[in-house]
């Protein structure tokens, strides 16, 4: 096998291995409000729920910590607003995100989570189109998002929405 072919095969194998490993690592998953459960008391009594988020692959789900910020650009000004998450099922680490950022501007939700056992951190960057999340542009990370990743996501969304 020639060297270029060998390199290509090695890179492909590494990519496959990384993708497979990501599926077994602590991470966040987002979905529409219906994913949080139609029988959920929290969802029956609250409005403005735009998405649900849950943690995956943690031995101690009940103690998973999930928090988030809405990162946006509004009238040319960069803004960061803390998100209040609605607890849906603490034992399963399922939370709902209500609409709570300004109507104007471009907003990316930066959701962060930590698992105590095994010790791990994860994050997700969710670009929003007003009240709807853009699934195909959502970034799922098995580590905390870097400041650059957050800024790039905000800039990227602002560019496409301007």
């Amino acid at each position: 096998m020639s060297l270029p072919k060998l390199v290509t095969v090695a890179v492909a194998a590494a990519l496959v291995a990384t993708t497979a490993a990501a599926g077994t690592m602590f991470r966040l998953e987002i979905g529409p409000p219906v994913a949080a459960g139609t029988g959920s008391k929290a969802l029956k009594t609250k409005g403005k729920v735009v998405l649900a988020v849950r943690a995956l692959v943690c031995d101690d789900m009940a103690n998973v910590q999930i928090s988030g910020t809405a990162e946006g650009v509004r009238n040319g000004n960069r803004q960061s607003l803390p998100l209040d998450l609605l607890e849906v099922d603490k034992a399963q680490a399922i939370y709902a995100v209500q609409y709570q950022w300004p109507e104007d501007g471009s907003w990316v939700l930066h959701l962060k989570a930590s698992c105590a056992k095994p010790k791990a951190e994860a994050s997700t960057l969710v670009p929003m189109n007003k009240m709807a999340f853009i699934r195909e542009r959502t970034t799922v990370l098995v580590e905390p998002a870097t400041k650059k990743q957050v800024e790039d996501a905000v800039k990227d969304l602002a560019r496409t929405q301007s």
Binding site: V34, G39, K46, V49, V50, S80, K130, R135
Partner: protein, 342 residues
């Protein structure tokens, strides 16, 4: 940095009683605190309600009571007691009359409608909102949200009961943006009822009564005589008079998939359509496949089950047999697991 919550300053903030510096601090805090923004919204809503109250004159009998009490010798304990009672009655009556006025006024005309061609006015249940070509209107749904009425639309305002708001769309297009707990806002169409589950959407009804629900955020359900289709953001569901809601699908599905769903719902070449659906479905299209479970024959149900389970197996303890038997609880649990991919 101003990190403490500022609920105690919000009333003075609304009344304009804060100094410029205080106001600036509150503005800065509000920009970063959802809890205080929510508290501010509640105060502003209460103020709007209070502004709707008018001054109510007390009945003559109350004034007579006060006069009699005043006429009694000063210093009499019974006289002072009577006067206090009369004053208390006056307050209770005034509050009652005010409350009655407030409850009666808006209740008889609970809808506020603004036309692009004219001003806003309150309207009663049973009245129709009609827009001509090129004209639009906006219906205020209490404190739940707004409904934009597109040109060439006819919609009837329904009764408002126990905070439930109901519209009937005869034909045309409306876009609703509702921020409320589920099932408080319902749009009846000739073919199905659109039940809001917290969302924004557009409903179109044609002259034949057939309709289309297009979700832009959140989710809603289309319901007709026990048949229900759940439609999350990004999905569409058609509905026909007599047949009720069709099978929902995501707008970004392939043309072949969408066309096959339409053929399946129309009953034209249902077998061929199902074959195509099963062949080209993506993981996200399990929205459609899940709805098909209860709409195909028992033999086809096995095929649909296998196709979904290949992407996302049912969560424990839901079993294959429960799904094939259309156990409602098992179906719900599987749907909630599948929905993480929708």
């Amino acid at each position: 940095m101003f990190n403490r919550h500022i609920e105690s300053s919000l009333t003075r903030y609304c009344d304009g009683d804060l100094s410029a510096a205080e106001r600036q601090r509150v503005d800065a805090h509000l920009a970063t605190c959802a809890r205080c923004r929510e508290a501010l919204a509640e105060i502003q809503f209460s103020l709007r309600l209070v502004k709707q109250l008018s001054t109510v004159s007390a009945p003559a009998s109350v004034w007579n009571g006060i006069d009699s009490a005043l006429a009694e010798p000063r210093g009499s304990f019974q006289g002072r007691l009577a006067m206090r009672w009369a004053f208390a009655c006056l307050l209770v009556l005034a509050a009652g009359a005010g409350g009655y006025w407030w409850a009666r006024g808006p209740a008889s005309q609970p809808w506020e409608v603004a036309h692009t061609t004219g001003g806003a006015r309150r309207m009663a249940a049973g009245e129709w909102v009609e827009t001509s070509a090129g004209a639009k209107a906006r219906i205020i749904v209490g404190t739940l949200g707004t409904v934009d009425v597109e040109p060439g639309t006819r919609v009837q305002l329904g009764k408002v009961r126990d905070s439930e708001y109901r519209l009937a769309l005869a034909h045309g297009t409306i876009s609703a943006q509702i921020n409320a707990p589920p099932r408080l806002f319902i749009v009846d169409t000739p073919a199905s009822a659109v039940v809001d589950l917290g969302c924004a959407y557009t409903v179109t009804v044609g002259s034949d009564g057939a309709g289309e629900l297009r979700m832009t955020s959140g989710w809603a359900s289309l319901e007709f005589k026990g048949r229900e289709s759940l439609v999350p953001a990004g999905a569409i569901c058609r509905t026909k008079p007599g047949a009720g809601p069709g099978t929902p699908y995501f707008e970004d599905a392939s043309t072949a998939f969408k066309s096959a769903v339409d053929r399946f719902d129309a009953g034209t070449d249902a077998a061929g359509a199902l074959e195509m659906i099963l062949n080209v479905a993506r993981v996200r299209d399990t929205l459609t496949l899940w709805h098909l479970l209860s709409r195909v024959s028992a033999a086809d149900r096995v095929r649909v089950y296998e196709r979904i389970a290949a992407s996302v197996p049912p969560p424990a303890p839901v079993s294959r047999d429960q799904i094939l038997a259309l156990d409602a609880e098992a179906l719900r649990k599987w749907r909630e697991e599948l929905a993480w991919k929708w």
